[in-house]
């Protein structure tokens, strides 16, 4: 398994986690919990954005991996 595909996998699982956090922020009955979930989902968004950029860079540097 190359680093490229591993980073991509992490990205995908983080995106899944982000979606879950957003779902909890909608379901949660407690206001404080709602806010915490919302904030965490926003933070994860920043992280996934950065990873996305990193993956693009990797594709640029080593085009042979693209698509894997």
């Amino acid at each position: 398994m190359t680093t490229y595909s591993r980073v991509k996998q992490t990205l995908v699982s983080l995106k899944g986690a982000q979606a879950n956090l957003e779902r909890y922020s909608l379901i949660a009955q407690d206001e404080a919990a709602k806010k915490t979930f919302q904030r965490s989902a926003e933070k994860l968004q920043l992280i996934t954005d950065r990873l996305q950029k990193r993956i693009q860079n990797m594709e640029w540097e080593e085009p042979q991996y693209k698509g894997f």
């Binding site: 680093t3 591993r6 980073v7 992490t10 699982s13 983080l14 899944g16 986690a17 879950n20 956090l21 909890y24 379901i27 949660a28 009955q29 407690d30 404080a32 919990a33 915490t36 979930f37 904030r39 965490s40 933070k43 994860l44 920043l46 992280i47 950065r50 990873l51 990193r54 860079n57």
Partner: protein, 284 residues
């Protein structure tokens, strides 16, 4: 009319009267029986008994019963309105232990012996008087004690642990029937419930009881207890995913030779660990 028949009729009719009277006197009596309430109950019972066994004639008995119960209703209304009346009738609470010291005068005033005090404390699982900081005798004679702060049970607050707010779970299925009202108070509907049940693979008819907690997780109990139902693990899984991703990011930052990428991974890992810290108590 034979006398035995008369007694039966009197008893039956006064049972009905007493039922109404006790309903009118309110529920407070049974919940917090003070000495006054106790005596009041006994007197009303005795009058009713006296009438039914023909110790007094019906008219004077009914008059006595009515007077007692009307005054009782009036007094309970007055004692709701005024603190003075309340203290006069029911007495007020008395501090019997203060700063760990027994107030002997108060005990004497309440006709409470030291043995009674110890017995009451033992009833509350307190065997050592040294553990008590403060104790109050309520107006019904019950003793409530506050333990010294180092003897109090550990709470999450003492340990500085954050906990998720537990708003009570709502019961959404009882005896195989879906109950709509609690579902709507949670902001959910039958469609949601059906989807969740499909995920577990059971139909509502087989469920004896189902509850939804504040986080929208479903706990069910089936009629057939030999069937194993998957426990809700979504929250645990989410936490594990976050932890796994954090570990991965740490590994990438060690693997890569690219200085900017290294920095980026480290920052991501740091932010992710702060996210994990924030949501950990909510996902347990």
């Amino acid at each position: 009319m034979p006398s035995w028949l008369e007694i039966i009729i009197r008893s039956l009719s006064f049972i009905v009267v007493v039922i109404f009277l006790t309903r009118m006197l309110g529920r407070k009596m049974a919940a917090r029986m003070t000495y006054f309430d106790l005596i009041y109950g006994i007197v009303i019972g005795m009058i009713a008994a006296a009438i039914s066994i023909k110790l007094v004639d019906v008219l004077s008995g009914v008059i006595a019963l009515l007077t007692w119960s009307l005054v009782g209703i009036g007094l309970s209304y007055l004692s709701l309105k005024s603190k003075g009346v309340r203290d006069l009738i029911h007495g007020r609470e008395a501090v019997v232990i203060k700063h760990g010291k027994i107030m002997e005068d108060q005990l004497k005033k309440m006709r409470f012996s030291p043995e009674d005090l110890l017995q009451q404390l033992r009833h509350k699982q307190i065997f050592n008087l040294a553990d008590v900081e403060f104790a109050v005798m309520e107006s019904n004679g019950e003793i409530n004690a506050l333990l010294k702060s180092n003897r109090q049970p550990i709470t999450p607050k003492l340990l500085g642990i954050q906990t998720a707010v537990e708003t009570g779970a709502q019961t959404v299925i009882l005896d195989g029937n879906i109950i709509d009202e609690p579902l709507t108070t949670m902001g959910l509907n039958r469609g949601w419930l059906r989807t969740e049940l499909e995920k577990i693979g059971v139909s509502p008819e087989n469920i004896f009881l189902a509850q939804v907690d504040a986080m929208g997780e479903l706990y069910i109990d089936l009629f057939d207890d030999s069937i194993q139902v998957p426990k809700p693990t979504a929250k645990q899984l989410l936490l594990n995913t976050l932890k796994q991703a954090k570990a991965d990011l740490d590994a990438y930052s060690l693997d890569t030779d690219h200085p900017r990428a290294k920095q980026m991974y480290e920052q991501c890992a740091r932010e992710l660990s702060s996210v994990i810290y924030d949501v950990k108590h909510l996902l347990k």
